[in-house]
Symmetry: C2
Subunit: 347 residues, 2 copies
DNA sequence: GTTCACAAAGTAACCGGTTACACGCGCCAA
DNA sequence: TTGGCGCGTGTAACCGGTTACTTTGTGAAC
């Protein structure tokens, strides 16, 4: 590998001068600069970023620590981060916490000396533990995680408000009995969505004890919920699933049981996965601009790196948008929907 | 930040001893080791990976350079890479070439001194240019790119064989007139798929001039092809689109024109995007295990890093699997399918 | 009691850059 | 002529670790 010394020797100057010429400092004469650059070209010299960052105390890299994510969510969040990072000439070092708390600590520790800042999304790690893992000297922004006592800037989606709005919309469209399929119990997003649903039901429909079926964000748990609905003959004219994945499973299983969406029952999801608009009828859902979660987080981190002092007060809350499609379609007159019992004809 | 010298001072030993104790070398006595580790804990010392990799000449990081990728493809490939990398304690540094050739060179250069090896997927860069950008001293594996003259190990999907198999399958299911919708002309995957189709038609159906409609992998170009088919009243009882995206557009537009799939015409795609199985009827397609592209590439790179010398001869070719679903469904008797003309009733 | 072998710990060079400081030189004012 | 200034360049310390080499100290062998 060619080093700076090789270049300096070739150009007949000292390493200091070579370094200055390469980095475009002003105190180098034209001819000297040319000689150095010629040597660089001739020897095919590329600066060693590792060595450079050691003295500069800057790596031009940010660490991104995400949980085990699948599909669109992962790629969208990275895309959002990269979009902003790339503009500022920053690189992305990926760390995966693979679910376990222990790995989270390891992933964060491994970042020391490699990155200038951290973007962390630790859905399953308790705040008090997280505090112990993070290096207070390293600028850090949390993704989709209310920092709580940590006083770190964060970006989150307003799941509560989204779920509230969706529930409200279903009621406005004439639903009387809305049922919610919840996400995993320990999952913060899921809990917030459930709270939004419960509050909207209480406030708008004056229903204090709405039906909530368990789920875990998987398609299968959506199917399971559908079976519960049909077999239990639960009176429902609308189902609000805590995510699209479950809504998809729900709809498929309802169809198998002879229940038609939206004729017999309306269905809504959350997230707006790409599949949502391709279903027929299309799935009504809350669109979460996941890429914005990433890009906004990265912007906050850049400000932190520039020296601004930002705390939890600088948090950004993203509002999801309601996308109305076919599964809540048709201008059903108030209370006109048949409900699940009507369509159900068990095999 | 705490450094190794701080730890050494605290423990009352030299930096060399501290370093040895921390790295578990054998030539340190028990009490000394304990003293050092106690100091580490007390001062909350975390080794500076940047400095460490400078002397060790190992970064435990591999660079991953991908084009602008969206959605599933991107996340799956990263997931595959991470799976293997994580097992070997390797980190992933992401670089995006953002389409342009110039950025590709920059992305590769930026990796110098940060990574031990490179995983590159350069679909739009010409081999002779790529050769100039790559550092011959840096272990490199190419993804989905036939190295050609570069003599680098690579992993690719056997698009030719996949397309051949799919065409054959359509013919076996009774199709007489199969039409292909091609992908972008400059795209290597698209070209290989087209060749597979042409060869299968020649060999199996003795058809030397099969109809090929232009496309660009987009949903719109699939719709466009459908309009051509219907308006031109082209005799076709099966359409093989070069990717799923186009097949989706095709099917939607055919439905609008009153052509039923698979009753009037069979449709097949390529890739097995998640949407494929959610359509009704489900889309018959070739499943490319994208994560295996990543994991296999990473395995090759690990071997390279271990010192094995691997050239283009070590390439791994992944075979896609045929997933038969509804769009080629029904046990149509030989030649019994109505064809497009039959179902078409232009508005 | 001296010699030798060997283990534990220290000293300092080194990885590949950056940069504070020193140096030499030409130019101008005093 | 001399002192001062500024510019271009070189010398060497430094970033934070690792490790070759050296030193010190202990016990076994003669």
């Amino acid at each position: 590998m060619t080093t700076l010394r090789d270049v300096a020797r070739e150009a007949g100057v000292s390493v200091a001068t070579a370094s200055r010429a390469i980095n475009g400092h002003s105190n180098v004469t034209g001819p000297t600069r040319d000689a150095v650059l010629a040597a660089v070209k001739k020897l095919n010299f590329v600066p060693h970023s590792g060595a450079r960052s050691l003295t500069r105390k800057k790596t031009d890299t940010v660490g991104v620590i995400l949980p085990d994510l699948f599909g669109e969510f992962f790629s969208e969040i990275i895309r959002g981060i990269d979009l902003v990072a790339h503009e500022s000439g920053m690189h992305l070092l990926l760390g995966n916490m693979h679910g376990s708390t222990h790995e989270t600590a390891a992933a964060i520790a491994a970042m020391r000396g490699r990155v200038d800042g951290l973007l962390v999304m630790p859905p399953d790690v308790k705040p008090e533990l997280l505090a112990g893992y993070l290096d207070p000297a390293l600028p850090t922004v949390l993704l989709n995680y209310d920092a709580g006592p940590l006083d770190l800037p964060f970006v989150a989606v307003d799941n509560y408000r989204g779920a509230y709005a969706m529930t409200e919309a279903l009621l406005e469209r004439g639903a009387r009995q809305v049922i919610h399929i919840a996400g995993p119990k320990h999952n913060r997003d899921a809990r917030d969505r459930q709270r939004g649903f419960v509050d909207a039901m209480a406030k708008v429909a004056k229903e204090r004890n709405p039906v909530i079926l368990p789920g875990d964000f998987s398609e299968e748990s959506g199917e399971e919920a559908a079976r519960l609905l049909v077999q239990g003959q639960l009176p429902a004219d609308a189902v609000f699933a805590a995510n699209d994945q479950m809504a998809v499973g729900l709809i498929a299983e309802l169809a198998r049981a002879g229940v038609s969406v939206p004729r017999d029952v309306m269905v809504a999801g959350f997230d707006d996965i790409p599949l949502a608009r391709h279903l027929s009828p299309g799935l009504t859902t809350m669109q979460v601009n996941i890429d914005r979660l990433g890009s906004t987080g990265m912007m906050l981190l850049l400000r932190l790196l520039r020296g601004d002092t930002l705390g939890a007060a600088s948090a950004t809350i993203l509002n999801p948008d309601l996308i109305a499609r076919g599964t809540t379609g048709g201008a059903a007159a108030d209370g006109a929907r048949a409900g699940i019992a009507a369509g159900a004809s068990p095999p």
